[in-house]
Amino acid sequence: MRDAHTEAEWRTVINRCYYGAFRTMRGYARTVGFVVDRNRSVHRHLIQFLHASDDATLNQCADLLFNLRTLREISDYDEPGGITKTDAQGAIEDAADIIEEKLVEIEAKKKIR
């Protein structure tokens, strides 16, 4: 991020953050019963699956993934000027939170059970 100085670079950062977080969560979700329905949007479906969980940490992951998906949509489709450095920084924090914090927390809870 330190080397990202242009909007094009911030957009790339956001795209990578979303897909990194999405793939990580999809991988985890598959281990606990998430089935990919090829006729539906796996992106929205994954968020629905995480929202439906009784685990508050997974519900928070749904919120973070929704934020990231929204930012990714703007960064991929909006006209120039719509993305700021703060958006990219926020995307990094959200993705890192999912991958490095929340998932570790979920795994730790599983071990305790």
Binding site: R44, H51, F66, T70, E93
Partner: protein
């Protein structure tokens, strides 16, 4: 041949602000400082005060921006329609939705329903935050000849998700929670993948990450309770239509929770 009038100081500062990097706090603060000085010098100049309000929102000074609303509403009649439409956008961003609605409706009446892009944008923004499906339908009708009408897209998503009837209560719940926290918002985004649409309303919050997480959790729990109370599955509803709580464009520090 008419010589165009030179740009006023307010025009110059407003253009600088619009073109500035939205996360460049130092530049934005400098522009706001100049606008503040100009506002004092000119007294009750609507355009300058409106630019100052937009500038204050741009640097995350929500309360001060909001404090200018009453005087701007007093000065509002007989102003340039584009300025009024921009003001309506700020009002919506500050969640002063009743006032924004009124200002936009009056402007539609006075401009004889001449469709101005600024006004349509402000109206769609306001209707999305209010959750006003009837107004959104009116706007969709007015923009029916446009290939990418935001109002039509929003309605389409709500229809697909069968959430039209829950648009207003949903947004009302979110607005109650966000009332004193939101500083700017972005028109709803439609997320389209394989025909499985979702709608996202973006709200910017000039607070720490911890505070934003707290607000988003509060919103999720309140909406889940609402959808359960009307016999719907919250996980389906929230995956189709939700709020993205994003950091305000100016940098936020985790430590003090204010613009750094």
């Amino acid at each position: 041949m008419n010589t165009p009038e030179p740009l006023t100081e307010q025009n110059v500062l407003h253009n600088q602000m619009i073109n500035a990097d939205k996360s460049d706090l130092a530049t934005l603060r400098d522009i706001v400082w100049k606008l503040r000085k100009l506002d004092r010098k000119l007294g009750n100049d609507f355009s300058t005060r409106m630019s100052l309000q937009i500038g204050l929102m741009a640097i995350g000074e929500r309360e001060e921006a909001d404090s200018l609303t009453e005087s701007l509403l007093g000065l509002c009649p007989k102003q340039n329609p584009i300025d009024i439409a921009m003001f309506a956008g700020s009002l919506a961003g500050l969640l002063r939705l009743d006032e924004a609605h009124l200002v936009i409706r009056r402007l539609f009446e006075s401009s004889g329903r001449r469709v101005m892009p600024y006004l349509i944008g402000a109206a769609t923004h306001c209707a999305a935050l209010e959750g006003d499906a009837d107004w959104m339908a009116e706007l969709a009708e007015m923009t029916s000849d446009e290939s990418n009408s935001s109002a039509s897209e929003i309605l389409e998503v709500l229809n697909v998700a069968e959430l039209v009837d829950h648009f207003a209560p949903h947004q009302n719940i979110v607005n109650q929670i966000m009332r004193s926290h939101q500083c700017g918002s972005k028109i709803a985004r439609c997320l389209r993948e394989k025909g499985d649409e979702a709608l996202s309303v973006i709200r910017y919050v000039p607070s720490s990450r911890a505070k934003r997480t707290e607000l988003q959790t509060e919103i999720r729990l309140a909406l889940s309770a609402y959808y359960k109370s009307v016999g719907l599955d919250p996980s389906i509803c929230l995956s189709h239509f939700s709020t993205a709580i994003l950091p305000h464009p100016v940098a936020i520090t985790e430590q003090d929770g204010v613009a750094a």
